[in-house]
Symmetry: C2
């Protein structure tokens, strides 16, 4: 083993922290050989007591700041989560000249611009592979493997909880609340699942991917956000009948007008690879100018899978004590903001479900309201009315239309009055 050992301080001993410590201790020979030097956990910072867990020879501190100040620590691994203590901890550790490895997507999305600049100035590395899509090496792929590509689009299933819920609803016809409870019981969803449900978690990750892909600063407020709670079993069924699957996607797309950033439930053709990614799996599709389409799929969460990425970043630090280049592929000062395309102007195909009074002329009027706005219909299916109801469900797939235009059309249809109160409006992406 060449060189001195790399001394590692791990802060936070949740599932990812413990899995990271386990790999470093139990597979020490393997990871040290690949790192080119010994990897030693010298300090564990944890508010909680895990008296039953083996930390090897590591010192244990209840105050994580002690880890950042420890001269016997070369790289600080932040696995606490959140944007409070974790933020202060990383800043202190950078000041102390320590390399950083983190799995904290919220922190990177919110404070990454500041932290990357601090790390560059201090000449330390900041690894964050584990912050997006768990065990999938999407950060390295975008930053390094796609470096010869102008990335046109990144689109993916980047929230495993949401995908689990949609998959269960879709494959077993279960209700949203019911599946959510199971996801919580299985440990997939947090006690407070708001960020998984409303798209916030996916928006954080999308900000990170977009920054890497397009060379733009992180913008946590950039993505347009729609959660999975707007998807009903009815729409999942109709989508399936039409040959589509509904997935909650994060999409970052670059065009001459600027950058689209959006997370929302999306109908995608069932033969597309993203459509086949079920349960807690994540998958990200990269469209590059040279490579075409590359898809990376795998476990988006879980202790060992996420620890796999955390440890890969630690090994990267060990291999490259002289640095691996800037965290975002370009120096922080070279990231240039591009105009964000407002939600209303983002065009896509659309899935529209409504119900109409079954009376002559109603359908013709509705299709005219769409045609008046330049929206052409790709397919229209009239379903049998539900028993005891006189309104007839209609499902439309449109060709490309900007959101503001389709919403205007929907408003006009509602104003017309011969329709039921229930509406659904979802984006369709064929990726062709």
């Amino acid at each position: 083993m060449s060189g001195e050992a790399l001394r590692i301080g791990v802060c936070g001993v949740g599932t990812v922290g413990l899995a990271t410590i386990d790999i470093l201790l139990l597979q020490s020979a393997m990871v040290s050989a690949r790192a080119g030097k010994d990897l030693k956990v010298t300090h564990v910072g944890a508010r909680r007591d895990h008296a039953d867990h083996d930390y090897g020879d590591a010192r244990v501190s209840r105050d994580v700041m002690d880890v950042a100040r420890d001269p016997e620590v070369d790289v600080l691994v932040e696995l606490i989560g959140g944007t409070g203590v974790a933020h202060d901890l990383i800043k202190l550790a950078i000041e102390q000249g320590k390399h950083i490895v983190t799995a904290n997507k919220a922190l990177i999305a919110e404070h990454g611009n500041e932290l990357f600049a601090l790390a560059e100035a201090a000449g330390v590395q900041l690894g964050f592979e584990a912050s997006v899509a768990g065990g999938i090496p999407i950060i390295k792929a975008l930053r390094e493997s796609m470096a010869a590509n102008e990335v046109k689009q990144v689109a993916g299933i980047i929230n495993g909880t949401g995908n689990f819920i949609l998959t269960e609803m879709s494959s077993k016809g279960r209700a949203f609340g019911d599946v959510l409870c199971e996801a919580q019981a299985l440990g997939y969803a947090e006690a407070d699942p708001t960020f998984d449900i409303d798209g916030t978690d996916a928006a954080h990750k999308l900000s990170i991917l977009a920054s890497l892909a397009f060379g733009i600063p992180l913008n946590i407020d950039g993505p347009v956000k729609q959660g999975i709670d707007t998807v009903t079993p009815t729409d999942l069924d109709y989508a399936a009948e039409l040959g589509y699957r509904v997935k909650h996607l994060g999409i970052a797309r670059q065009s001459k007008n600027g950058v689209e950033l959006r997370v929302h439930p999306t109908l995608i053709p069932e033969h597309k690879q993203l459509a086949t990614v079920d349960g807690v799996m994540n998958a990200v599709m990269i469209s590059g100018s040279a490579v075409g389409e590359v898809v990376l799929a795998g476990p988006g969460a879980g202790g060992p899978a996420t620890a796999s990425s955390v440890c890969a970043d630690i090994i990267e630090v060990a291999r490259h004590s002289n640095g691996t280049g800037p965290a975002m592929g370009l120096p922080a000062a070279e990231l240039n903001a591009k105009p964000l395309i407002p939600s209303g102007e983002i065009a896509s195909e659309w899935y529209v479900r409504l119900s109409i009074v079954d009376r002559p002329g109603v359908m013709s009027h509705i299709t005219k309201l769409l045609a008046d706005r330049g929206i052409s219909i790709e397919s229209l299916v009239q379903k049998a009315p539900e028993s005891g109801r006189s309104e007839v469900p209609i499902v439309l797939l449109t060709h490309m239309a900007a959101e503001s235009v389709i919403i205007d059309a929907v408003e006009a249809i509602k104003a017309f009055g011969e329709v039921g109160t229930e509406f659904a409006l979802l984006r369709v992406e064929t990726f062709e």
Copy 2:
């Protein structure tokens, strides 16, 4: 731009060479920003004349060895192919202290052990991302992103030509020879397609993946090899009826008994991600101790896609002038051979197609011949006889059995005599 320019010599101006030069010239600002220094093509080595192609300010030599000797070249990009001139060229360039980037799988599989050791001794980098699966960053993923995993298995579709042919045969019921001609016309298959058809090309790539995954030296003769020419449209149809797809896979698997290396047509359940990878696409599934299953899919060939990986390696050289660590993740001297499990001992489930004389007792005798050898039957389908034939086609799926055992059973069935001459025997992998 910090530091001096990285001076690049490109040898070989086929589709990949020209696409590489185009990226370096036409997207010079982008790749130089990501490399942290200017990337300059200073020398092009090409026997062929491409008077119409822009090489920028590069010197052009008809003798590629001139590029290896040029003091104005820091990194030599070998895109000639083959194991003759390319081998001499790379050795000379390493002697001259130049970094190497190559897309040459045959050369790496056959001479990688020697070349990696030479590169290490000379303190130069040797990048070969483009040698396996074109634009998919599988080398980097295995070497770096999975470094904290004991890799148990790598399995993938790693020959795009073969996958194109099987996809066309399967989806359109076309004959092998017909599709092969089209593949040649489209430029997917070489004028001499032997290596694509008989599994040699896939075996080269599998050797490279196995070496990375398991830390073993390259062994070009290691893989058991069966080509796609053994697959008939009949078997593709029966497989589909049973819920399977036939893909030509390379599989490297590690167990306590040693390492399995094999390339062969394989039935895989249609819901598995690998089953959905069609046409010239490649995909590789990695099973790691921490991460679980990760799948990378994308274009396995083509000029720009392969050039994407070549240029990523060049940028890697630029970013890490002090080296990125050994090419195989471990120093050449630390790679340890593991016992190769002989073909006959490799167990899997099996697809067996035969035809029997429709007479009482025949089926019972055949199933007894299997049972006598401990082979249990998972499913058995008797088809209607083809018109004008009295023999009845039978399709069997078995549970796990070693190859030697199933072959012995097949021989016994043939010896029994009440069967037709046509047999098919294919491995089944469920990856569960």
